[in-house]
Symmetry: C2
């Protein structure tokens, strides 16, 4: 498990992400530019590579708060495991890596939103259900 | 409704926040430093001032994604209205301001986590319940 790199575009990072959500057209220029944006945080994108292909990915976003003594909150986003690589524990590998990063940079908590179907998986990652997510699409 | 400013520390911003969550000790130096950090995003803290006191506040955090054509997701955090100023619609004022900012900078959606008790309020803000929030405290 390692940080996202420039040539992960060719290793299928975006097509993996499209198994989770709408990706749309992302040019090489857009990929490179966004990677530069997020490379030093507050976003941290981690991936697992297997046989030259990206098979799992997840993102940690840091939120700098005034609460909790100007503390940091970690948000885990866009966790996805390739459908051909499921059942090997790669989701747990990604979530643990992101959680370790969050703790090591000083977050007081890490949170995420998931479907009811995925709640049991995140409980196995040591998390507990807390609130409900509300959303507004533009 | 306006952006958080330096002298809002003296106008009770932190004590307002303590009505929502644990704030702990935040020195003037920490306040000033964190304000500089967040002043140009990806966090945007908005407040409502009334009679020289901060009576409502909320934060928008921008998350830069690769999904949605390298889109932006807005996270609304730490919405709080002073207990002596509730029932005047200030919560709606703050949420609408943060939602407008999110839309104007190009977010494709805005999301937040809230208690079941506050779900009806956010539905009046035009939001819909979507997923469940999981949390891990360090």
């Amino acid at each position: 498990v390692r940080r996202l790199e420039r040539d992960d575009e060719d290793k299928g990072f975006l097509s993996l992400l499209s198994q989770l959500t709408t990706v749309g057209n992302v040019t090489s220029e857009q990929f490179a530019s966004r990677l530069l944006d997020v490379r030093n945080g507050p976003e941290f994108v981690y991936v697992v590579e297997d046989g030259g292909a990206i098979v799992a990915a997840g993102t940690l976003v840091l939120e700098r708060k005034f609460a909790r003594g100007c503390g940091l909150c970690g948000h885990i986003e866009d966790v996805v495991v390739d459908e051909r690589a499921r059942g090997k524990g790669l989701g747990l590998v990604i979530v643990r890596a992101l959680t370790r990063v969050a703790e090591s940079v000083g977050c007081y908590k890490v949170i995420l939103d998931c479907s009811e179907d995925n709640q049991a998986f995140y409980e196995r990652c040591g998390m507990r259900r807390k609130e409900v997510q509300m959303a507004l699409y533009f």
